[in-house]
Structures are given as structure tokens and as C-alpha cells.
Symmetry: C2
Subunit: 159 residues, 2 copies
Amino acid sequence: MQKRCRQGQSWWQPKFQGRGYRMTVPRQVILEVLSGTEKHLSAEDIYLAVQKSYPHVGLTTVYRTLELLADMGVLFKFDFGDRRARYELAEEFQVKKGHHHHLVCTRCKRVIDYTEFIDQEKELLEKTERGLMEKYDFSIEKHLIQFYGTCGKCRKKTV
Amino acid sequence: MQKRCRQGQSWWQPKFQGRGYRMTVPRQVILEVLSGTEKHLSAEDIYLAVQKSYPHVGLTTVYRTLELLADMGVLFKFDFGDRRARYELAEEFQVKKGHHHHLVCTRCKRVIDYTEFIDQEKELLEKTERGLMEKYDFSIEKHLIQFYGTCGKCRKKTV
DNA sequence: CTTGCTGCAAAGTGTTTGCATACAT
DNA sequence: ATGTATGCAAACACTTTGCAGCAAG
């Protein structure tokens, strides 16, 4: 019933203008796709999703937009070991997901987001970051925590 | 003065035989290269190092050996965002480095190994792993922790 | 009207695969 | 002797780049 509101000025409008970038239709659509999912989309996933409503948008534009957004810190690029980059909107722009880390199955490449233990982690991470910044003269912007292993399904499959 | 001992049966000999794999010269040389460095080598780095003493060894063999070793858990494959995979011998086979994590400069891609706070981390990680394994029916084999930011040099360079 | 953005096609790059030969066990 | 391992060349798959036209501010 409810149609997409594309004309409405969203939170990202000022983010772009501030840097001299332009807000265009392809960029808006890509941002909407990223906003509307909880999955870890690849560039091609995004391209295909965009194609449904805007068939003329090219894969190149998707790549260029993703790079731009990553540079702006609006989204993060992940490598889960399946050869293609995966993208996820940064927490502050995610409606559906909060701060979480990843659990990656090394066999089927499935990725589970988990939010447990985040609070204890957070405390330790902040302490660690402060220490590292001082010792190595490094300004830390983000962290990555991932656990690798085998999911239940895969363990049952191959004995 | 001291020449390399290649014929000596090393720790990896039984590792290979146990699985029906064969110990060959290229594999030994690749393992030696990995053992003798503290750096995070790419496949090509390793290939070039191997070439110095064994010019006939091909890049393909390097890739295949690295994949084999990664499957065996003898080495880990990392992605630091510079488009090529980096390899590091697992702790138990590393002479020079103990357990550590990585600090990655997103500009120059330099990687610093740090060992601070590892003990506190370890405790928390173990607790987290136990919790996650139970909740998600996931057998965790390893974890990855990386901090991203900008190193001192790069911060000074571009204002 | 200026300059950033786009699509297309082509090029690039790290990595993988097919196949005949060589070699470890 | 048997089947794994190797090297070469070619194929792959994801990503990037060049360029002329388009459009946002």
C-alpha cells in the first residue's frame, strides 16, 4: 500500500551536501536498499535489487556509490571469505540492527549476527582502544570482531 | 655460514603424512618462508621469496599450498583491505610471535601486531565463545579481532 | 554553466582450474 | 606402481577505469 518516499529529504541529504557530493536517484535507491535489509549484501545483490525499480542503474555506479559511502563512514565493507565484499550500513544508520558482531560458518559461509556479550565487550574494547591509541599513536575508528567455526547444519551434514 | 636444513624432518612432517598428503620440496620451502618472517606476506611475496632459492616453483603451487595449510589450520588467511590475502602461520607454529591481534591503518594499510590486553581479552573471549556455541549451535574454531584507524604518520601527512 | 555523476565497454588483478608430466610413498 | 603434486597457460570473478554524455546545484 504505502509507496516508497523517495522525494523526502532523508538523513543522508546533509551528509552529502556538506562534502560537495550530490544526491542523485541511484544513490538514494542504493541507500534505501541498504536501509531496508538485515542481510549482508554484496555489490551484485544491491545491483539486482536496484534494478527492480531502476533498471538503468549500472553496476559501476553501485560500486562507486559503495566506495563513497564506505569512505564517508556510512557503511562498512566486510570480507567473510566468500570472495566478494559484503556491505552493511553503519549502526547509527541502521534501523533494524544495533551493535553486533559476526559469527561466520567457514563451510557454508553463513553469517549470524549476535548481540550477546556486547556490553562486556564494549567496556573491554574501549579500554583496549585507549591503550592502543596511546602506545601506537593510532587513532582508532572502528573495530572488527568475528568468530569462525562450523554451524550446526554443516556439522551434521559432513561427518 | 649455517646452511638451511631442508632434509631434517620438521614438526610438519607428521602433520602431512597423517592426512595422506605428501611432503615435497615446494611445500617445505613455503613453510620455511612463513616460519622465518614476522610479516604478513601475500601469496606473491611468498612466491618471490621462494623463487630466490627454488626458481622453478610456480605461483600456482604457492596458492595451492597456502590453501592446503589454511585448511589444515597451520596458517591463517587475513584480509587487511588491500585487495590481496595475507598469510600468517598459526601461533603454535610461530617461533617469533605469540598470540596477538591487528591494528590496521586504513590509509597506508600498515599492520601493527599488538599483544597488549590479550589476557583480559582472552578471558572475555572464552566466555563469549562458550555462550555463542551453546546459543547458536556453533563450534567456534577461531576468532578475529582487528582495530582500524589511522596511524601517526598518515595523520601527519594529509591534514 | 560548472563540475560532479552516470552508463557502457574495456581493462585490471588476484586467484583458480585443466591437463599432461613428475615425483613421493 | 599408484595416486598426489606440479607447472604452465588459460580461464575466472570481482572490481576498477576511460570516456563521452547527463544532470545536480
